[in-house]
Symmetry: C2
Subunit: 306 residues, 2 copies
């Protein structure tokens, strides 16, 4: 196999790579689907990989869906997937707080229903979701009522993010024993047509700035997403492939964890981006250069059908 980085994966190299791995981690948006549309050929690729005995997992920074919601969406789109193969940051954050932090106490949650449900599923209480509005004319911001059982602040995507929530998070985080966890640091959610909306990274930055503390983040490129899969399924790093569309999250996670890495060009990053990182002379940026790239994961199909 080629020792050089960012090699186009085609011809006999595809089978060679697939034979060298037992487990494959896929990012979702921009890799197996875009929005509500499956990438053409993606479901066949996933289903054939599983038929051939590969362990397949889905790791996504999006915190707005539970494992069940992902599995349901995948099933609708024709993927043969089980709930416990899906690792989103809503689920992983709950497991992180439960098993790594061994949290005993409630979570002050900036986030939506999926985070609430995944926390509840592991037996962690939280303060509720939805709007937290200003009531009355004069608010004593520094003395808003706090829940004495709260021992952690968790920040995920929250369309009801507000100054009141930011303020409550600050008041909890000035308690020195209060944990501070973020689902992910993505600054924007890219949408079709070059549009974008603010991502969880913006909310987290606001809370970090107020609290003068840095959150521990669960999502890619932090190792924990891989550790979470590995702890449940016993993955051998040298025989594991990470497939994603973003150099700064997916490929960096793979590099950080010693996995093989494959960039697919159906999402955010380009080969030019990878080349620029390679030529930068910066070790950190070179960690974002994938071993291989494909135009689409459908490019794996011939090797699987053969």
């Amino acid at each position: 196999m080629s020792g050089s980085k960012c090699t186009r994966l085609s011809g006999p190299l595809v089978k060679q790579l697939l034979d060298s791995v037992d487990s494959i981690l896929f990012d979702c948006d921009g890799v197996i689907w875009r929005g509500d549309q499956a990438i053409p050929g993606a479901s066949q690729v996933i289903n054939l990989l599983k038929e051939k005995g590969k362990k397949v997992f889905f790791v996504t920074n999006n915190s707005t869906k539970t494992r069940k919601m992902y599995a349901d969406k995948m099933t609708t789109l024709g993927f043969n997937v089980k709930e416990d193969e899906v690792f989103g940051t809503a689920y992983c954050s709950a497991v992180y707080l439960k098993t790594v932090c061994k949290l005993e106490g409630k979570v002050y949650l900036i986030g939506g229903n999926a985070l609430k449900q995944e926390l509840e599923a592991v037996g962690i209480q939280q303060t509720g979701v939805g709007p937290d509005l200003i009531t009355g004319k004069q608010i004593d911001w520094a003395n808003v009522p706090l829940d004495p059982e709260v021992k952690a602040v968790l920040v995920g995507f929250d369309e009801h993010f507000s100054y009141m929530k930011l303020n409550r998070a600050l008041q909890y985080l000035t308690q020195p024993d209060c944990l501070f966890v973020g689902t992910n640091t993505d600054t924007r959610l890219p949408l079709e047509g070059g549009k974008a909306v603010p991502g969880t990274g913006c909310l987290l930055k606001a809370v970090e700035t107020a609290a003068q503390r840095q959150a521990h983040t669960v999502g890619k490129p932090n190792n924990y997403m891989f550790d979470c899969v590995a702890s449940q399924f016993g993955i051998e790093r040298e025989r594991c492939l990470m497939v994603g569309d973003r150099l700064d999250t997916d490929i960096k996670l793979g590099s950080n964890c010693g996995l093989k890495t494959l960039l697919t060009l159906t999402g955010v990053s380009t080969v030019a981006d990878a080349d620029a990182h390679q030529k930068s002379g910066c070790v950190e940026k070179q960690g974002m250069v994938p071993d291989y790239y494909v135009e689409s994961i459908a490019d794996l199909l011939p090797a699987l059908q053969g």
Copy 2:
């Protein structure tokens, strides 16, 4: 006069310093008042300085009050002050957009009533203040209605800050000709008893992270607050003193603009903070070391009464 920095100002040195300046800029909170209480002796100091022919100005990063609101508060507390001696970031941001940016178009405003009023006073239209709430179940965030006349986003303190406002700011700021201005970068508003609430800096950081652009900030330590005073009153830098309680905003502004600087210990920063900056060996931090310090601006009183 002593060549060393951070000298305690007392005895004959007080009169020497006052004789060496024609204009004095005072920060407000932590300097002439704390919350709603005047610092004892502060009003006599200000009033005597003016009687003796000194030009006195007030420069504050707080964007929640108009010049008139400040002048009214000061009058109530016994200060002999005119509206046009007050330079808050609500007023200065409006003047900045009008005279420096020569804005022709509307402002998308994240901020409160004082900002709205100061913008209107210089003839700049803005999009309104107050809650911008989620209505309905499914929002098409990337396609929220925008005002085509908006040519600038201004971020100040806003207790109604929300994900919707963050999103609207992002949508405006993806237009390349849209200006981006912040009132100030203070991350926290310190309150009595060691408490604090999130400051404008947190909201600005969220918008900057989403927009992947840096705002031009009007407030201290940016030069503009001084430039704004100087352009209206013809200040001679060498004969001007900046008095404040914060090294990172007040004293740094003074250093940046070549003014004499006086730290007062009735607010945020301490002499130990200044010493640490002095010993850091870092040029930027040494720019936050004041020329002089006093326990309170009341320490100037004997020299003025003599």
